[in-house]
């Protein structure tokens, strides 16, 4: 092997206050390194209280300049924390930032081991591994990629609308894709919102109209993303725009077609199964866009080829049965996922009887009941559609904080339960019981709302409801729904007969969240919520550059938090757009064309389609822009013709030898 130029390596062992020095003998590690790794090029080895402090960084910068260091190893915390800090320090001193290597002796040594001697010995091995590896590092430059200023927002709920409006108002173009016929999301279904009791439509519809008419927003409703490829700055997205069978240019939104349509169907989505809609419909009056859609499964024309009433009565001839689904390709630089949540299916809690006992309603069903535009015009009535209940029981935490269903707290069901209690009081004067285990009213003006509902005379029973049954045991219970609950404050079992029960159900990730995650290349938590880059410090970004998440898709939250996250995600996108280009980690794979025999074994391994085969030259090539740097092809190439920067074979093999203390002079450890 050709004799390599001797590198000049600086080793810096951090005390991290007592986090490391408390367990690892940092002085011993530093002196050991200087003593035993001299032949590998270690010219200086220091220990310092806080390497990440500006003084610590200056220490490195001074050494690089004065001692002409060509490599730096910092034995401190995890690279995920301060790799950037020390790379910038090296850069300031004129050393290529990728010639710095972090040896983690805090998270992976001092914090997890107790025996001081063993921890010190392990730290030496880790430092030796890092030194052997850093010698093999090569200078790299970040790959600059242009940022396409267009943005894709998936999901037209309040979070998606907020994100789209912020970006559009900043003067950049947004594609807002929504699966349902209209934007608005779950919020459009609510009657009132807590704690202010604002009418949900009154505060939502203006934002919907603003989004619907904004010159910088292309609204794509009744559409779904079916394919995503590319990387931050240039994503290529395919959107399937389902056929509406209504020509959007001609339609004026007059609604005659819906009026005349003879086919009535239960509206499972917007009316939560409580109301009806026609085969051609707009989900609600204030829908944006106002164009109706045709439900292919239920429209008589599509089933039997007859009827066509809507076509006859349409004043502008906008009905077009020939319309086809369209696949539209759009180019965007960043993507925000605001796909919202699904309501927990209360039928799974069989002892609460939803789906078996008629007068048990879910929270969304009650939202439609209490909504003036709902199936009962806002009259709170029982399942028979006529009788007003005299007593109502509202059960909190249905499906949440329950190891049989969802462990987590869904954040909004307490306030939602209180809102229902208030509405029932206001509209019917019925006696209201709220069954809760903990009253969670944490945000601004929430607890004040709780006090108000208390003063209105709501009866609060602290206890997890055991069962809702219609098996009466005495005259007093006949014909009623009996709520069996252990009242933990009164310390006894109670059976409370009521006319109607409302289940304040919890929130759940979308049923297809795992598939959607895979489509956009992000992962989900075990429950199914999208995984944020960092739960505390980076809640709207994801591990994948250029993909952001907002609202309930990231976890259960109330409307103010969803709006805040929508705005936060848009800010992150705007800062990417304004940078015009983004630096990608220079961790890429590349093929040595002479050595490549064209065996094509690597061709099937890249989910990002970065590997292409040239039939003419019978060789493979890797597109550095598409390559995400996972290194699978580097490890797979039988001819060893594919090399990877940042994690090359030489670096890793050297680190293995270093960790096993194979590169030492005869002086043992």
């Amino acid at each position: 092997m050709s004799e390599k130029k001797q590198e000049r390596v600086g080793v810096y062992v951090c005390h991290c206050g007592s986090n490391i020095a408390g367990v690892v003998d940092v002085f011993d590690v530093a002196s050991w390194a200087e003593e035993n790794l001299k032949h590998q090029g270690v010219v200086i080895a220091r220990e310092y209280k806080f390497m990440c402090s500006s003084l610590g960084q200056e220490l490195i910068e001074k050494d690089i300049k004065e001692l002409g260091l060509t490599r730096v190893v910092v034995a401190a915390c995890s690279p995920h924390l301060h790799e950037k800090t020390f790379r910038t320090a090296a850069k300031n001193a004129g050393l290529n930032p990728y010639l710095v290597e972090l040896a983690s002796i805090r998270e992976q040594v001092s914090w997890v081991h107790t025996d001081k001697a063993v921890a010190t010995k392990k730290s030496k091995a880790v430092v030796a591994g890092a030194v052997s590896r850093v010698i093999e590092n090569v200078p790299l430059e970040e790959l600059k990629v242009p940022i396409n200023p267009n943005t894709l927002v998936v999901g037209g709920g309040i979070a998606g609308i907020q994100a789209a409006l912020e970006i559009a108002n900043a003067g950049f173009h947004v594609y807002l894709v929504e699966r349902e016929p209209s934007i608005g999301g779950h919020m459009a279904q609510f009657d009132k919102t807590f704690p202010t009791l604002d009418c949900s439509a009154c505060i939502l519809t203006p934002r919907m109209v603003e989004a619907g008419t904004h010159p910088n927003i292309t609204l794509m409703t009744w559409s779904e993303v079916v394919n995503v490829s590319g990387y931050v700055g240039s994503f290529n997205v395919t959107v399937k725009k389902k056929a509406r069978f209504v020509n959007e240019e001609l339609c004026t939104g007059c609604g005659i077609c819906e009026e005349k349509c003879p086919k009535k169907v239960i509206d499972e989505v917007f009316e939560a199964g409580l109301g009806y809609r026609k085969a051609v419909y707009t989900p609600f009056a204030q829908a944006v866009p106002k164009y109706p859609v045709m439900d292919r499964e239920n429209c008589t024309y599509f089933i039997k080829g007859t009827c066509k009433a809507c076509e006859k009565f349409c004043p502008t001839g906008a009905i077009d049965f020939k319309q086809e689904d369209q696949l539209i390709n759009i180019e965007v630089g960043n993507i925000i996922l605001a796909t919202g949540y699904d309501l927990f299916d209360a039928r799974r809690v069989s002892n609460y009887g939803y789906g078996r006992l008629p007068n048990v309603f879910t929270s969304l069903e009650f939202e439609r009941l209490s909504n003036a535009a709902g199936p009962t015009n806002g009259n709170i009535v029982m399942r028979d559609g006529k009788t007003t209940p005299k007593s109502v029981g509202i059960i909190h935490c249905v499906g949440s904080r329950d190891k049989n269903f969802n462990n987590y707290c869904s954040v909004i069901c307490c306030m939602q339960g209180l809102k229902f209690a208030h509405l029932v009081h206001e509209r019917t004067g019925a006696t209201v019981y709220n069954f809760y285990i903990d009253m969670r009213t944490a945000y601004k003006a929430y607890d004040e709302f709780y006090q108000r509902v208390l003063e209105e005379g709501t009866l609060f029973v602290r206890g997890k409801v055991a069962e809702v049954t219609n098996a009466a045991r005495n005259e007093h219970e006949r014909g009623k729904l009996i709520i069996q609950v252990e009242d933990t404050l009164a310390g006894k079992q109670r059976r409370i007969p009521v006319d109607m029960v409302i289940l304040s159900s919890g929130l759940q990730p979308r049923a297809d969240s795992k598939e959607v995650g895979k489509l956009f290349g992000i992962s989900c938590s075990t429950d199914g919520w999208f995984t944020e880059k960092h739960p505390k410090l980076d809640p709207v970004a994801t591990m994948t550059e250029g993909i952001y998440i907002a609202g309930c898709s990231q976890g259960p939250k109330d409307i103010p938090s969803s709006v805040a996250q929508g705005a936060a995600a848009s800010a992150r996108v705007l800062d990417k757009i304004l940078q015009r280009e983004v630096a990608l980690e220079p961790i890429k794979a590349s093929v040595n064309q002479e050595m490549c025999s064209g065996c094509r074994i690597c061709n099937g391994l890249c989910p990002f389609n970065a590997i292409t085969f040239h039939e003419d030259l019978m060789v493979t090539e890797i597109n550095p822009a598409l390559c995400q740097g996972c290194g699978t092809c580097v490890a797979a190439c039988p001819a060893g013709a594919i090399s990877g920067t940042g994690f090359s074979d030489q670096q890793i093999m050297a680190q293995i030898d270093g960790l096993l203390l194979r590169n030492l002079e005869p002086v043992g450890v």
């Binding site: 239960i266 039928r347 799974r348 789906g355 008629p358 009962t376 399942r383 098996a471």
Partner: protein, 330 residues
Amino acid sequence: MNKYLFYPGCSMESSAKAYMQSMNAILEPLDLQMEEIEDWNCCGATEYLGINLIPAYSLIARNLALATKQMNGTRTVTAPCSACYLNLAKADYYMQERPSLGAKVNEALAAGGLQYTPGTLEIRHLIDILVYDIGLETIRSKVSRPLTGLRVAPYMGCMLPRPDYKHRWSDHEHPTELDDLLRALGVEVIDYPLTTNCCGGHMTQIGPETAFELIRRLVADADERGAHLMATVCPMCQMNLDAYQGEMNHYFGTDYHMPILFFTQLMGLAFGREPGDLGIGAELVSSRNALANIGVEVPVTQEPAAPRKKDEGLPMPRRWTKHEGKEAVK
């Protein structure tokens, strides 16, 4: 030919002779063959496990050990009585879950030259086999005299659906297996919320007042919902509701007259067998006028309930069914 190892249990030969008789009557049409376990012994019912764990489990496990010697062709042991089924299932489950218990039980069995490795056998109740192995289609195809007009309250009892170790049942509170089976016979099944509430078990011996209250709730609710009779899957439930119904009436001053039959008796009737061959009439609360609705072509005495007016009420959401599966929605 579906072959199963059969553990009859004590009551099938005494207080629940009718259950045995009616079961035997439906074996042949359903192509079912029951091979009784040689020299089986009592399963300790609901009492013994509460008194002394190791001897109780050894007593039960002895049956399992004997069954493993007759396993030619099948590894499923079936028991018609819920208490026997649960005890056998518990023995198999806990010998696996707690190896120390398993070892002690095997130590006891060794004295009799027997041994049982947990997991070798599958323990399933009779109705589980009828619904899921034989299948409702086959049962429906065998019905020659549909029991239309007979209103029955389906009473599954508490020992089948809970604890449901092997997730065999559609729901732990409101299982629908018995409802579906009775509907297959043409029966009009009423919506009976107390289908898995406890009948008191051995409480009739220890605290009769509590037992009477439990029995009253079950019978009163069925009566209030217009059931002609109650169908049950367990000899202990049948005995408690039937034999103690008189004393319960006396205790509360009520005069309920709710016949308690075994679901296999109804199946026998639906398969065209005569009531006499099915042990019908042996029950203390006579089912004669209840069966008058379908027994003989006697015009139904009560006015048939007015056809339900198509009410304008709000639509009901779809009922929860087993094959929809809990995981599907999670």
